[in-house]
């Protein structure tokens, strides 16, 4: 009924002809739900950013850890982070880990995915099985820890990269892309013209897969940037820790104690004053910013990649 007498001025021009306009109550409930859900994510993030710029006076006046409306803005917290102390070291370390780890992971994944994209080649099936089995079983926390020790990687930054360098999921996603999107005739033609596998990979396959390579790289990068568990397990004795570990230590200074404000004084890195809420929130902002910058790109290409991986894997 309503499908026929569509009002031409209504914004729902995307609604197909056969679809009835939802009731006012239904629409309002839906909008309310969506707005509440989005606010639950946006408001805390906004408060964190606002607090990171707040001065100590403004924080004390507000009497809490988070401010919704920033007054009396200052960059003091950021100056402290980048002033060359432990926090700067931690950020530099995390950036190096992220860049180095991602590069290493990409080499592994691209080579493996291309090798496994050629069905029927020698040992193709057993190698694929080796990769797929990792989805079914986990070797367990203690044996992994033991192996890292046996390899002499305990308390060595390499233990933050090597054990997690390969994601079987990413490899399968990339392999599916190579198999389904790059025309086999093109590769066959190159082979007939005498190009070797390495050359085909470098000059044909990689240039045709730029978008998905970037997505996979960003996934690895987010993983390395967020490293926490590996550092707790494998490198507890090192002085400079990844940024997530540092953030966790700052958080622990107040969390879980009945009167958080006074407990903050217990945490004093190298005899300095306890971290203010502004400093903590500035560290949070620093850990979020790279992700937010990468985010639009991931989002653009991600869904397709996941679906290929989920369905073809």
């Amino acid at each position: 009924m309503t499908a026929i007498d569509i009002k031409p001025k209504r914004r729902s021009s995307n609604r197909p002809m056969w679809d009835e306009e939802p009731s006012f109550i239904g629409k309002s409930l839906k909008s309310l739900f969506l707005i509440a859900y989005a606010a639950a994510i946006v408001v805390p993030l906004w408060a964190i950013v606002a607090t990171s710029f707040a001065s100590e006076d403004a924080l004390t006046k507000a009497g809490g850890n988070l401010l919704l409306v920033p007054t009396d803005l200052t960059l003091a917290a950021y100056r402290e982070i980048f002033s060359g102390g432990a926090l700067t070291d931690s950020l530099v370390l995390t950036i190096i880990l992220t860049v180095g780890g991602t590069a290493f992971s990409m080499v592994l994944t691209v080579c493996g995915a291309y090798a496994l994209s050629r069905t029927g080649s020698l040992l193709h099936r057993p190698i694929l099985m080796l990769v797929l089995f990792t989805f079914l079983f986990g070797p367990g926390l203690y044996p992994s820890f033991l192996v890292v020790q046996k390899l002499g990687l305990f308390n060595n930054y390499l233990s933050l990269i090597l054990p997690v360098a390969l994601s079987a999921f990413n490899l399968i996603v990339l392999r599916a892309f190579f198999m389904n999107t790059i025309p086999g005739e093109l590769l066959d033609a190159a082979r007939i013209d005498g190009a070797g596998e390495f050359r085909i990979l470098l000059t044909i396959v990689l240039p045709m897969s730029k978008a998905i390579l970037a997505v996979v790289a960003l996934f690895y990068a987010v993983g390395y940037w967020n490293i926490y568990f590996s550092a707790v397990l494998y490198t507890p004795g090192l002085e400079t820790q990844p940024i997530q570990v540092v953030l966790q230590r700052m958080l622990m200074s107040t969390q879980g104690l009945p009167d958080g404000a006074s407990a903050a004084a217990q945490y004093q890195p190298q005899g300095e004053a306890a971290p203010t809420a502004a400093l903590k929130m500035a560290v949070v902002v620093c850990t979020v910013i790279p992700i937010v910058i990468m985010y639009p790109f991931i989002q653009k290409h991600f869904t397709k990649a996941v679906i290929t991986g989920a369905i073809k894997g």
Binding site: L122, F135, G138, N226, T254
Partner: protein, 327 residues
């Protein structure tokens, strides 16, 4: 080369109809032809061998009285003694039950939330609203657990935003982020905040693959909104739902480490202990030995393996594709 030749026959034996090779070639010929691919696969094989299969093999010490101070083969085999000890440990069973509790809650309360979010989103016609909302809800998926816990403490903690409002209104200080009795609810809220958007994106992609003319035909036949959802939408995303369910069931004992370890100090170990944190605190940094921790981990891994294979088998029985096809 000899190893290549001996390794090749099982390939074809295990999968009689998979690779359609145009002409029969000997393994030596194939090696000459395919060696670059093997070289390319080598780094992956090495990484898996070192950091997946080698640790997997070390699981054997769960059946030994292992000590790092003597040569490996002098460690005596003790059968299932460590597993027996595990079940007699007063902390193990609570950790196992907690793990199952969190996994079940995740399955029952987070999974449907993602589906509901996707269905609501799917019914929004404005592309602008859709893309904005998707961007917002999906963003926290990329945040670390440290960050998520920080956000929750800052907002719902004793000194947090909400607590301060309540106190400003004359109420009491919130103890939500340190209350063991409500930790399950807190954990669920954290999952919803961090991961529900990811599930939503997956289901939305599945929804987008449903042929729109089905809806049109049903609408013309007089099916209303709800009937269309029941008869077209839900059957349309059933394979994806089942695939994700299988993966979840397989990982049911792998509820994660970070979320629980990070809140252990605040909430207390009784409410937050799961199998992974149990292994870490009892064995890696605790006083129990390597064999004990390995046995606990192997118990988890073995159950996970059985569950994922079982769930997949059931999916095949139900006529679904599951995680792998029987090719």
């Amino acid at each position: 080369m000899a190893t290549m030749q001996s390794a090749a026959p099982p390939t074809s034996a295990r999968t009689p109809n998979a690779p359609v090779v145009k002409r029969k070639r000997t393994a030596a010929q194939r090696l000459r032809h395919d060696w670059p691919l093997l070289v390319l696969a080598l780094p992956v094989i090495a990484q898996l061998a070192l950091f997946f299969y080698w640790p997997s093999a070390w699981n054997i010490i769960a059946f030994m009285d292992y000590s790092p101070h003597r040569p490996f083969w002098e460690n005596p085999f003790v059968g299932f003694a460590w597993f027996q000890r595990l079940f007699n440990d007063p902390y193990f069973v609570p950790a196992l039950l907690n793990t199952l509790k969190f996994a079940a809650a995740h399955l029952m309360f987070l999974f449907p939330l993602s589906v509901v979010l996707a269905l609501v989103m799917h019914s929004v016609v404005s592309t602008k609203v859709r893309s904005t909302f998707q961007s917002i809800v999906y963003l926290p998926y990329f945040f670390s657990w440290v960050l998520v816990v920080t956000v929750f403490v800052q907002v719902l903690g004793a000194d947090g935003l909400v607590s301060n409002w309540l106190m400003g209104l004359g109420g009491d200080r919130l103890s939500f982020t340190s209350n063991p009795d409500t930790f399950l609810l807190l954990a669920w809220m954290q999952w919803a905040w961090k991961d529900a958007g990811w599930g939503m994106i997956i289901f939305l992609a599945a929804l987008a693959s449903i042929n729109p003319s089905l809806y049109e035909a049903a609408a013309v036949d007089g099916a209303n909104r709800w009937r269309r959802m029941w008869h077209i939408t839900l059957p349309g995303i059933r394979p994806v739902i089942i695939l994700l369910l299988i993966l979840q069931i397989g990982g049911i004992l792998s509820v994660g480490f970070e979320q629980y370890q990070l809140q252990r100090q605040a909430v207390g170990y009784q409410a937050t202990e799961v199998l992974d944190t149990y292994v870490y605190y009892r064995s890696v940094i605790g006083t129990e030995g390597a064999s004990f921790g390995t046995a606990a981990g192997l118990f988890k891994g073995a159950i996970g393996l059985v569950l994922i294979l079982g769930a997949n088998k059931i999916a095949h029985r139900l006529g679904e594709q599951g995680i792998y096809q029987k090719s």
